[in-house]
Amino acid sequence: MNRIQEIIAELVETANHPAKAVKASMKETGKKAVGCFPYYTPDEIIYAAGLLPVGLWGGQTDIKLADKYLQSFCCSIMRINVEQGLKGMYDFLSAVIIPAYCDTLKCICDNWHVAVPQTYLIPMVYPQHRKIAAGVAYLIDEYKRVQKELETIAGKKITEKDLEDSIVLYEDYRKTMRQFTAIVSKYSKTLNAKTRHLIIKAAYFMDKRLYTIKIKELMEELKKLPEEKLDGIKVVVTGILAETDALLDAFVQNKIVFVADDLAHESRQFRTSVRSEGTALERLAYRIADHDGCSLLYDEEKKHGQLLIDLVRENHADGVVVCMMKFCNPEEFDYPIYKKELEAAGIPMLYLEIEQKMDSAEQIRTRIQSFAEMVK
């Protein structure tokens, strides 16, 4: 196995076995871990506390226990998170942070106290009016409150220097990830849709410093090789996340390459940088204020569609694939607007309704295949 394959294999293994990977990271770094529900948790503060932020984005569990709390028309990602909480799969975490972005997440916060009392909950609410001064000030107050909670868990005070160092690290991570997603089209065979996804996903279960080093090394190694000829279809993928395995396999089989993404699970996490001015918490708050084109954040101009169009143009993509998380209201509301805009721009689009736990991917496979044939 060459070095590239080695790194990839390691990251894929991490992404495929989150609990094992997190426990290994905890051991390696000696840190306690804090679970981070989607979306935009203040991982920099967690890291600054000397804790390990871990992403909790559902999984492949069968849902049984969660039915006691949630009707079947709740998004699968949250049903699975609650299920896993109930099964005790998060017991090794010192706390979880749940930010109440959507109506579902508000309810999950509330249910968590009762359903999973053993895993300490830090609820958070982000301002929707995030661009006005009052919104920024509110968010800073929220961050301060969460910071205190984290200090208690870590048993240490977080200094401004800790926060600044953490921001430097996260900025480096974000920049690295933007570079990584940008080289996918040059190494489209090695970084096929599935591998690309798993590599990005691994970050949620590792120490960001160690992860970033790995990605940098991977890119260095890749650059030594000649570029791979891209003979498939180039797409921009949007949605909450692009899973399951069967779904990703179908993309790979049909030679569909993700040249860019607008997934909440992937690029939305790292496409926006912090500002250079201000205190650490101000800089973090302004990152939320500056982050656009996400269904979770109020935007009366609805820039989501334009963002997708820009991504298609910049990356010379052949179309957009929508991975619509079933029962996800914020995403479902954005769709009719950007659909119209993409159509007006003459951009082909494939709409797939996904659940994290899908019994059969047969229909989706067929649709992906016809889309590939149509765009070719």
Binding site: K68, Y69, L70, Q71, F73, C74, A100, Y101, C102, D103, T104, K106, C107, I108, C109, D110, N111, H113, V114, A115, P123, V125, P127, Q128, H129, I132, A133, A134, G135, A137, Y138, D141, E142, S295, Y298, D299, E300, E301, K302, M324, K326, F327, N329, P330, E332, F333, D334, Y335, P336, I337, K339, K340
Partner: protein
Amino acid sequence: MDKNISSKQVLNDMISRHYKEALEAKKSGELVAWATSIVPQELLETMDIKVVYPENHAAVLGARKDAPAFLQNAENNGYSNDLCSYARVNIGYANLKESAAGNIPMPDFIFCCNNICNTVIKWYENLAREMRIPMILIDTPFNHTFDVPEHSVKYIREQFHHAIGQLEQITGKKFDHDRFQEVMNISTQTARWWKKATALAAAQPSPFNGFDLFNYMAVIVCMRGKQEGLDLFKLWAEELQGKIDRGEGPWKDQPEKYRVMWDGIACWPHLADTSKILRKNGINLITSTYPDSWTIVYDSDDLDAMARAYSSNYANRNLAYGAGNIVQIVKDFSLDGIIYHSNRSCKLMDFRQYEVQRQVQEQTGVASVIFDGDQTDPRAFSLAQYETRIQALMEMMEQRKNERPGGQ
């Protein structure tokens, strides 16, 4: 007010006048706003802006069985049928602009407060975008704590100022702070009288007639800041008190056998069916979580108190508050049962309902059932299931009555 006119008649007049006036205002070039059901309407009323409430309009279309065409239109435009049906009806209406069940003028701007849910932010964003009109948002952060935290209060208060600036810009008029005081005053009084009237349902038998609450709700939503609204609730309270004094129950032809609360919104397209089945069995629906939701009360000169009040409604507070609130209702209204509407439209109401039901059951022992329905999408409701659930509720209530001394 003419003493011979019943509050029901006044109510119906007011509502039809409300819509008529809005249409006329639009025709004569006045500004019209669309707003969510628990917005700080004080700001709009002060500016003398005509407001219509899409949720109320959607409910009207639903009740008059005219929702399907609009639902279909929204779905044809890419709106998932999993989204709130008020939003789908309204978005469909914004496209089609014509319903035999009643029309509303198109808005010049929209005014949104997410104290009821975050769904309205997305829904209104889309309206603003499609119609290219301004949007004013008052963001009331969800209270995962029991009370409204101080930094939320400050944030909401600052947004009032921000919204006033936006309103001045949109209307080209100065905001009149004296008038604002007046409106705040009336609004608080209206809310107090709404609460007072609805609290009279606690009498045994209750003077309420089943689904009255849902009808009068239209006024607390649409006319909270107006003198007529205040007068209506005074008149209604007077009538109810009269019935109580005369010992009159809800129905002339049958006694009130069971007293229940309805959790959630009505099934507007099936209003007649859902109420008939209850009445047939002597079940009287006397309250819900609504009376408190619109009891927006604060001292008239205090913006912080107003901010706190607009963030303190049931839907924006945590489960501990929600369950505690219902436990109190069960006691105050001497309830025999609770009907929980698992409303396909409303994720915020649904995804805490199972746990609320358990906690209320544990603390009060009150009988309860959950049924599946939707507020305006007729497809999500099954009469057979509803009937079976109500039957089960009856049996539980009967059993409890028999277990308790005196049968009460």
